[in-house]
């Protein structure tokens, strides 16, 4: 308890009191709203990403998000603009690479290196706050504005709506592309559409977890859910549920302690994945 007491300052260990304290400040309510939105979006899109084995494409988009956000900061634009712009452009670029983008590791790897390099350049040129870099790479839950929350909700609702409308053909194309194509499913168009949705999910998630820790919410809950069930709908819901628990707990722990939210969210996501692996 002595260690807990020093790390978790202000934690009363009474759940009701602690939840009240958690919601005491507006910035924390915003953080929880944004985190909830992102967890739902990343859980659903991530489930398809893991099923389609496109985690490498997802990672590439996350790395591209960094220079996008840094460039937006440099140009004096809203960060969200940089995140979404870069990820959507990245998704289009990935779709343009001939062959399977998730397997074409050399081309995507080269793009990743360039992305990180550009991001570093933009941050250096910006020359602003030093912890700006760590916030872009590893996330922050401080200072999320009402406007940012609204943007995330609008993007998430649109992306999830598109996913709901095209979910079944997308599932068909993901597990069985040849037969899906013969059955009239536009496999190539869905592949592009999914990369765009993935870009949106990565851009949204980056704003909470940072560009490098996106996978905590995009991969770990989805991979854990797929270990636990082979039923599509149940897996999707489980993925979203795990993402929500990880995000809420991570943000709460970060609020009451001295360590960053990114650390808690990744650690909890990792624990969930390992537990799922051992459960099955």
């Amino acid at each position: 308890m002595s260690i807990d007491a020093s790390i978790f300052q202000g934690l009363s260990w009474n759940p009701v009191t602690d939840v009240h304290r958690l919601l005491e400040f507006h910035f924390m309510v915003n953080a929880l709203e944004a985190g909830t939105t992102v967890a739902v979006l990343a859980g659903a899109i991530g489930w398809f990403m893991v099923l389609r084995r496109q985690t490498f494409a997802g990672h590439t988009l996350a790395v591209i998000a960094f220079p996008g956000a840094a460039g937006a900061a440099l140009a004096g634009l809203p960060l969200a603009f940089g995140y979404f712009g870069a990820c959507v452009a990245g998704a289009l670029a990935l779709a343009g690479i001939p062959g399977d983008p998730s397997r074409e590791s050399a081309a995507t790897g080269t793009v990743q290196a360039l992305g990180l390099g550009l991001g570093f350049l933009f941050v250096s040129l910006y020359g602003g706050l030093l912890n700006g870099v760590s916030a872009l790479l590893f996330g922050t839950f401080l200072g999320i504005t009402d406007h940012q929350v609204l943007t995330l909700v609008v993007v998430a609702v649109a992306a999830l709506g598109a996913l709901a409308a095209g979910g079944r053909p997308l599932l068909f194309a993901s597990v069985d592309a040849d037969v899906a194509q013969a059955a009239g499913v536009p496999v190539r168009a869905l592949s592009l559409g999914f990369l765009l949705l993935l870009g949106l999910a990565v851009a949204a998630t980056s704003q909470i977890t940072g560009a490098l820790l996106v996978f905590a919410l995009l991969v770990a809950p989805a991979a854990a859910a797929q270990r636990l069930t082979a039923r599509p709908l149940r897996g999707l819901l489980l993925s979203v549920g795990l993402g929500l628990v990880v995000t809420w707990l991570g943000l709460a722990l970060a609020y009451f302690s001295v360590y960053p939210a990114g650390f808690y969210i990744t650690t909890l996501a990792f624990v969930a994945y390992v537990a799922a692996r051992f459960a099955r």
């Binding site: 079944r168 597990v175 899906a180 082979a230 039923r231």
Partner: protein, 235 residues
């Protein structure tokens, strides 16, 4: 449909589905243009294997064959689920009831193949096109799947167009044979096509066709020996 590697068997199936355009000539499928009749065709492409990391149930794969191409959210309907009943029916037909609820990646090649045949059948097609359904199965499973296809053909009243590399497991079930070789094809009953004369002419090489005591035909001497079981896996 028999013939060597690269003779054009799979390509012909894709032409039939409208996935590959014809460079010359015309094709008519069930009285329609290629691609227009796909709703009445059950298709099982070549060599599909799910590895252990594929976390989707066999029954889901079969269900996708029924309504996977439909857009929109599948709403839970009142009353009995006709789709589910049809899915259960074809799974029972192929004898996959015992393992259809398991993740497809954990199943054996033969079990996966049965589920895929169920998927191809689920929309009650009038034409079932199976591209090398016996490939990568062991001998026991080859015989079992071949017998299953024959039974489906009769019970479901569906025409079966089957591409095979190894003629022996299906020889007893063939009504007609299309034999591809040397850029051309010969069509007829097995007794007409699988003869030393016809095959020797097709391959431009001496081919022997032997009849075993139980009345089966054994083809010997094909260049590269594509008929001999396992020849493909030795490379």
């Amino acid at each position: 449909m028999l013939g060597s590697n690269g003779a054009g068997k799979s390509t012909l199936l894709k032409v039939t589905l409208g996935l590959v355009p014809l460079r010359a000539g015309t094709a008519t499928v069930l009285g329609r243009r290629p691609g227009d009749a796909n709703a009445d065709i059950g298709y099982l492409p070549q060599r599909r294997n799910w590895d252990a990391s594929s976390r989707i149930r066999g029954v889901d794969v079969v269900r996708l064959g029924l309504d996977g191409a439909r857009w929109g959210v599948p709403l839970p309907r009142l009353g009995p689920d006709e789709g589910r009943r049809r899915v259960d029916e074809v799974i029972e037909l192929v004898g996959a009831g015992r393992y259809a609820e398991r993740a497809i990646g954990t199943l054996s090649g033969g079990e996966q193949q049965r589920l895929l045949i169920a998927q191809a059948l689920v929309r009650r097609p009038s034409l079932l096109m199976l591209d090398e359904p016996l490939d990568s199965l062991d001998l026991t499973n080859q015989a079992a799947v071949a017998a299953l296809v024959q039974r489906i053909c009769r019970e479901e009243d569906v025409a079966v167009l089957l591409v095979a590399h190894d003629v022996n497991p299906i020889l007893g079930y063939l009504d007609r044979v299309v034999y591809f070789a040397g850029g051309t094809a010969v069509c007829g009953t097995p007794g007409e096509v699988i003869t030393a004369e016809t095959l020797s002419a097709l391959y431009a090489a001496p081919i022997e066709v032997l009849r075993t005591a139980d009345g089966r035909l054994v083809v010997v001497g094909v260049p590269e020996a594509p008929f001999a079981h396992g020849s493909r896996h030795e490379h």
